[in-house]
């Protein structure tokens, strides 16, 4: 293939790729953080759409439980700098959905919330969500550090681990969380190796022998040809 030909096919390749990619890229931004997406938009089977719809309509937590979850979520992950809090990212709604989707989480979550209210009542004569900032801190400090916690609050530690896990997972799987993390992928790309500054920082290098086996991305759109022994010719 002469150079002009190959330039042309590269162009066609990129263009065609671009068109297809545009066609399947997620349509714009999510409506807003925390709003449960309308179901069925992510390649669902009819039975899955029906199941999702049912779960969204069902109600599991009471208002009081939801309010307590909201308070807990923002204590776990408050707003920070340019990034919003767990509530800003819709984490309580996410946890409410998970409790319906994964029924085995229901007793640990509901029971854990009761445990926490009970603890708050004993210590401060009020339920958890109505405690003051310093009371919240005192209550959380005794269950948030598994290595230091006393056996007396073992069940509380376990509940808090669960809440922390769900809050972090709920947060970092939203657009806000992904921006906060800095994840850069899930978009069309041409992987061409670890950036040089990163290699240098890690004291690593590609060896020539290995690189010779790797794709020269300039040639990715040329149709592959081999000789009879499987040696790639282009």
């Amino acid at each position: 293939m002469d150079r002009r030909e190959s330039m042309k096919s590269m162009l066609v390749g990129t263009l065609a790729g671009g068109l297809v990619i545009n066609g399947c890229a997620p349509s714009g931004e999510p409506a807003s953080q925390g709003v449960t997406p309308k179901t069925g938009l992510y390649g669902r089977m009819p039975a899955e759409i029906a199941r999702d719809q049912q779960l969204i309509e069902d109600k599991f937590f009471s208002e009081h439980e939801l309010e307590t979850i909201a308070v807990l979520c923002d204590l776990i992950l408050p707003a920070s700098g340019e990034f919003g809090s767990a509530n800003d990212a819709g984490v309580p709604e996410f946890i409410a959905f998970i409790a319906k989707d994964m029924r085995y989480q229901q007793v640990p979550l509901r029971g854990g919330l009761m445990w926490l209210d009970n603890r708050a009542n004993r210590k401060f004569g009020t339920n958890f969500k109505s405690c003051t900032g310093s009371q919240h801190k005192e209550l959380l400090d005794e269950i948030a550090y598994p290595d230091k916690a006393t056996p007396e609050v073992g069940q509380g530690v376990r509940f808090f681990n669960l809440m922390r896990n769900l809050t972090l997972t709920g947060y970092y799987t939203t657009k806000m969380g992904i921006d906060a993390l800095g994840y850069k992928g899930n978009s069309p790309n041409v992987w061409d190796g670890v950036p040089d500054d990163v290699l240098a920082e890690h004291g690593l290098a590609y060896d020539e022998e290995w690189l010779a086996k790797c794709i020269d991305q300039q040639t990715r759109n040329e149709i592959a040809k081999w000789d009879d022994n499987g040696n790639l010719l282009n």
């Binding site: 790729g17 992950l77 550090y145 997972t169 993390l181 290699l199 290995w210 086996k213 499987g230």
Partner: protein, 571 residues
């Protein structure tokens, strides 16, 4: 209930549209044969936005991609899983087998790992090497030309290495290793473990105008919208349909192969899942490709006066010699990868490098080998991300747990700092590992279901023990810290339950002796010359490699044999 019969007589009826069935459809239809492709699942097209999960963001799923309805998560392109509503299977008490099925056009090839390893010369004659199991009736040289053609037809990246039992093929160039893979290469080399570029059926360089080129989204398990990975649907069935010779039946669950008074196959009967009626198709040949266990089930359920034990099963070998790969895995924390710079590290799905089997069994206390797969990197968050985020603080002498801003730092600090490794090894096929028809249970279509009976032996358990020792040896070289406890004797060294590696093969094995095998070396039934089985059922042994490339090559070879036999009026 009346059985509805179609008047058309097909040259070939192909049951199942996965790797084996897709290849047969392509070869037979393009040779001008009239083909019926009968698939139990619904239509599926990875390029149709209606089905597409590729490039979706985690927040588009209300459960953020968790596996509540799909075993490998919401975005995985598998319609099916370990359990399917209305289609149970059973196990003999005291034994285990987990059976993964995908019912959809393309079967499991829509979401498989794309690790595409041809078997080597020893793998076809391993009894000659160690006296265990049986040899195949064919050799590597018999199948090599077909492997070569599959490479070129479908596209596979890899590298020429000149290793005797890991034969080279017609490779596209490999993608460059990522950071965690460079650490693995360094560690493996220091530990004396071979490491080479992966071999995967992903198009890193254009192979034709029909298929696209990989744009590195790491999501082949979601099926590729530009057809840059191998799915039977987009790479075989759709191109085959252009011949105009393929009638595709979806949601059509085949119950049995029908026969005439000579015991020859006349077609198949199936249940249409939409109207729950039974239909019959007529064909000159029947090609089963429903996956190893599903095809064995059809064989054993096809009982008639001529075939009281199931079609072509006079030997009673059907269902026996079922085997899956061995497997076990471990995770490691790599301190050097803490606080990494973040950049787009999505490559091809899965690994860019791997370790093929590198040792000599003469010096070991177990037979047969395993290969090592690995994972890691700056992946896209989904359900489970951030769990136990601050736990790794214990390795660097800092406080675990907590709440508040510190958690943001912990998440960031450990993002991309762990790696997983898994061994996948060869199990010796045994007559007493089998599936059979459960005498008491039917599925919702009224079809008798499979009962599994499978146990691991000492051979496999010792092999997996060795895997774990190797994992620690490798990662120790870079000061990585193993996570969790090393599995011990009490858990059989962490060996995955049978079936879990999803490489079921061997249930209708091939051989020269009709008394000890179901198929001959062309995957043709010894007892019924117009029935062929082109999924993993024909495997005599599994090798320390994944099965699909061999399924494809054998199906191609058998399809051409069928064309020739039809032409010369032998069938």
């Amino acid at each position: 209930m009346q059985i509805i019969e179609s008047p058309k007589v097909y040259d070939a009826i192909i049951v199942g549209s996965g790797a084996g069935g897709g290849m047969a459809t392509k070869i037979l239809s393009e040779a001008g044969l009239q083909v019926a492709l009968v698939e139990a699942g619904p239509f599926y097209d990875p390029t149709d936005p209606k089905f597409m999960t590729q490039l979706k963001w985690p927040w588009e799923s209300p459960r953020r991609g968790a596996g509540s309805t799909r075993a490998f998560g919401d975005f995985d392109a598998a319609y099916g899983g370990w359990e399917i509503d209305g289609e149970p299977y059973t196990r003999t008490p005291g034994t285990k087998f987990d059976w993964f099925r995908s019912h959809m056009l393309g079967g499991r090839t829509n979401h498989w790992g794309r690790i595409s390893l041809r078997f080597g010369p020893n793998d076809f004659k391993h009894k000659d090497v160690d006296g265990l199991g049986d040899n195949w009736p064919i050799s590597y040289d018999d199948i090599k030309p077909y492997y070569d053609r599959v490479d070129k037809l479908i596209g596979i990246f890899g590298s020429k290495e000149g290793l005797y039992n890991e034969p080279d093929g017609f490779f596209l160039p490999a993608p460059k290793p990522r950071l965690h893979e460079l650490y693995y290469i360094k560690a493996a080399r220091q530990a004396g473990v071979k490491v080479i570029p992966s071999r995967k059926s992903i198009v890193t360089k254009r192979i034709n105008d029909d298929r696209g080129v990989c744009f590195y989204c790491s999501q082949c398990s979601r099926a590729c919208s530009v057809k840059a990975d191998f799915s039977s649907s987009s790479a075989l069935v759709f191109p085959a349909q252009k011949s105009g010779n393929v009638d595709l039946f979806v949601n059509a669950m085949v119950r049995e192969v029908s026969t005439d008074s000579n015991g020859l196959a006349t077609g198949v009967s199936y249940v249409n899942k939409e109207d729950r009626q039974e239909y019959r198709l007529k064909g000159r040949t029947v090609v089963l490709a429903a996956s190893a266990c599903s095809s064995a089930r059809i064989v054993m359920n096809s009982k008639s006066g001529q075939h009281p034990n199931g079609i072509g099963n006079g030997s009673d070998v059907t269902g026996k010699y079922l085997h899956d790969s061995t497997g076990s895995s471990r995770s490691f924390f790599v301190p050097q990868l803490m606080d990494r710079k973040i950049y787009n590290e999505d490559g091809v799905a899965g690994m860019h490098v791997y370790s093929p089997w590198w040792l000599d069994n003469k010096k070991l206390d177990f037979p047969r080998g395993y290969h090592i797969e690995l994972g890691g990197g700056l992946g896209m968050p989904s359900y489970g991300f951030g769990f136990a985020a601050s736990e790794m603080n214990m390795f660097v002498g800092e406080q675990t747990g907590g709440y508040g801003d510190k958690l943001r730092d912990d998440v960031r600090k450990y993002y991309g700092a762990t790696m997983g490794v898994a061994g996948r090894g060869e199990c010796i096929a045994r007559e007493d590992n089998y599936c059979e028809i459960d005498p008491n249970v039917v599925d919702e279509w009224g079809i008798p279901v499979l009962r599994f009976n499978y146990t691991w032996s000492d051979n496999e358990i010792k092999q997996v023990k060795h895997m774990h020792e190797t994992f620690e040896e490798i990662f120790d070289k870079i000061g990585a810290i193993p996570l969790g406890d090393k599995p011990g004797k009490d858990s059989n060294y962490g060996i995955a339950d049978p079936g879990r590696i999803i490489h079921e093969v061997g249930t209708t094995r091939m051989g020269d002796d009709p008394k000890t095998s179901v198929l001959n070396k062309y995957q043709q039934m010894h007892e019924v010359k117009n029935v062929f089985i082109v999924d993993g059922g024909s495997f005599v042994s599994q090798a320390d490699k994944n099965p699909t490339w061999t399924i494809l090559a054998l199906s191609m070879r058998t399809s051409e044999y069928i064309i020739e036999q039809l032409k010369s009026k032998n069938i």
